[in-house]
Symmetry: C2
Subunit: 346 residues, 2 copies
């Protein structure tokens, strides 16, 4: 199944089923008004949702309407948990190499994960707001899953079976604030802005063979201000799969339905190289910090600037036939001061 949340002026928006080809959608208020409501009672509601989804794809659903990605909020406009891992160790290796430090051995067996803010995500076509370019605004293109309820101490197999939906993320990061925040020892807090998710979230079975071993084996496509920037395969060089990440999150506490767990910035190792640009024949990057680290390693200092007001970010994933699976995240960086902030509820 594919799901989206249409803006309707409320904080949680309206749940719709989206056809496999992203051409049509179907409100399902008689089954679940919001995506959280569907997740809260998934086992009971999934059969009804499956039935409606089959009718939608067959062109036989009463009430179906054209699907317009630009009307979407993030699938969960607000969530009870957003826990983001850092599963692509190549990204961590690059960070360390750029400052001549070793990666601790434990990083290959014990995932990095931080608790992010989940009270007010931005929509996939909403502006990325910031009050200053000096914050070092960066994208982080990632894959994320939404879980059902998970018991404390769940096994990796139990965690795998709790994965309900898959989607894409732009985990907006404020790079110049990170060193100060991490030095305080309490995590990223002020250095992570509100994240945006893809218009559409899909059940793992929609992904067919591209979803295996709790990983999504397709290129993640990133454009910056209209130019190709990254296309690494999200299934490669992922040291911890989503089942491992969910189990890690649940080690000391239960996870409630609607918990979002992220992969961290997708990053491919590319043989002996730590990364290389699309222009140079590589798969490029999913964040600016990574190209800057690569520049630091090669040239002694970063050259590529962070995002400026007016820059745009596009994140998408296509199947083997070239069809968009999750719709497109497309955002412009905008100065929060003086901007219209109310549009996000739509």
């Amino acid at each position: 199944m594919k799901f989206a949340t249409l803006k309707n002026g409320s904080r949680d928006g309206a749940l719709v089923l989206v056809s496999r080809d992203l051409q049509h959608c179907l409100p399902v208020p008689a089954i679940a008004v919001t995506l959280q409501a569907a997740l809260d009672n998934w086992d009971a509601l999934a059969p009804q949702l499956e039935h409606a989804y089959a009718a939608l794809n067959a062109g036989q659903a009463t009430g179906a309407q054209p699907f317009d990605e630009t009307r979407c909020h993030s699938p969960l406009p607000r969530a009870y948990q957003w826990a983001d891992g850092s599963a692509y160790i190549n990204h961590v290796e690059l960070v360390r190499k750029a400052r001549n430090a070793e990666v601790p051995a434990s990083f290959y067996t014990d995932p990095l994960m931080y608790q992010g803010g989940s009270d007010s995500f931005i929509g996939p076509r909403d502006p990325v707001f910031a009050l200053s370019e000096e914050w070092g605004i960066d994208l982080e293109a990632e894959v994320a899953v939404i879980t059902g309820d998970v018991a404390m101490g769940a096994s990796i197999a139990e965690a795998a079976s709790a994965i309900r939906l898959v989607m894409l993320v732009n985990d907006v990061s404020l790079r110049n604030l990170i060193p100060g925040e991490l030095a305080k020892g309490f995590g990223f807090f002020q250095s992570k802005a509100a994240s945006a998710f893809s218009p559409v979230a899909v059940t793992p079975d929609e992904l067919g063979a591209d979803w295996s071993d709790s990983k999504l084996h397709l290129p993640l496509l990133v454009e910056l201000s209209g130019r190709p920037f990254g296309k690494p395969n999200a299934g490669e060089d992922m040291t911890f799969n989503f089942a491992q990440l969910v189990a890690h999150a649940a080690k000391t506490r239960e996870l409630a339905a609607g918990t979002i767990v992220g992969s961290g910035t997708v990053s491919n190792k590319q043989g002996n190289l730590f990364g290389s640009s699309i222009e140079n024949g590589g798969v490029g990057y999913c964040c600016l910090a990574e190209v800057r680290m690569y520049e630091t390693i090669e040239h002694g200092a970063p050259k590529t600037p962070f995002l400026k007001f007016g820059d745009t970010v596009r994140i998408e994933m296509r199947d083997a036939q070239g069809t968009s699976i999750f719709g497109r995240i497309e955002q412009t960086v905008v100065n929060y001061a003086g901007a219209d902030h109310g549009s996000r509820r739509g």
Copy 2:
């Protein structure tokens, strides 16, 4: 106004108004079904809630019933954000002194704050579940506020005016997991278990003169397994008040209604001492880590163990007349393995 959430088998429970003396309560489904619903539309609903609250306190509310704290969930059984500060620098000074380290000067001007899990709080009378005593299970008795919507970059005055409710917290911490988690640089993640909040959350005006300068000027009463353990005044030695903490949380992103911001463990400095037990005439402690640090400073090593299965924690606050303001957090530490986990929804 005073609010509580009664368990009713749902994930969010049922909102009730609670009389000032905590003797009666009144369901208000025609106004707001849940506390989150009231917070989502506070300005419009507050007058109706005030009207019902006045009738309840006058003994004239139709549908009023006896209030039973033991039926309560945390006021927000799940929330969209839980951001916990560390505003009592004495606590931080003790941590540092126990390991012969200095407190960075910036800690007196830049609050410490971490993002906590908010997807599944435990109720005020629910067990504190853990899978192992070896995790170093500790309480942290704190004060917390619930905010309305807060703009990015809000001033301290704007932050102060966004404080909707005040309550108490037991921020359960897993001390033996903290060093490993903090060493990874991504925050506390696995070292913070699910938190519990007091049965009742109150509007600041209920606190009269005890709420001033965005601080709560009353002793926070803590008992461990039936013995007095702490009674520090939450209004003393609070380096950052709640308005400053909320503004800190909002520096780089909006906060959505229902955001919970905590004070960190309450800790009084007591003259030249860093803390002293109630038995020795002091105001005692709000967490076991603090007495252990004090023991380390005095004797070279900690003596007091962390919580064991079967230990109980009580946290409460009384007004000048001795009346409980928020009801009582009272929890027993229980092994999650083999326990009945379903009771929490009631």
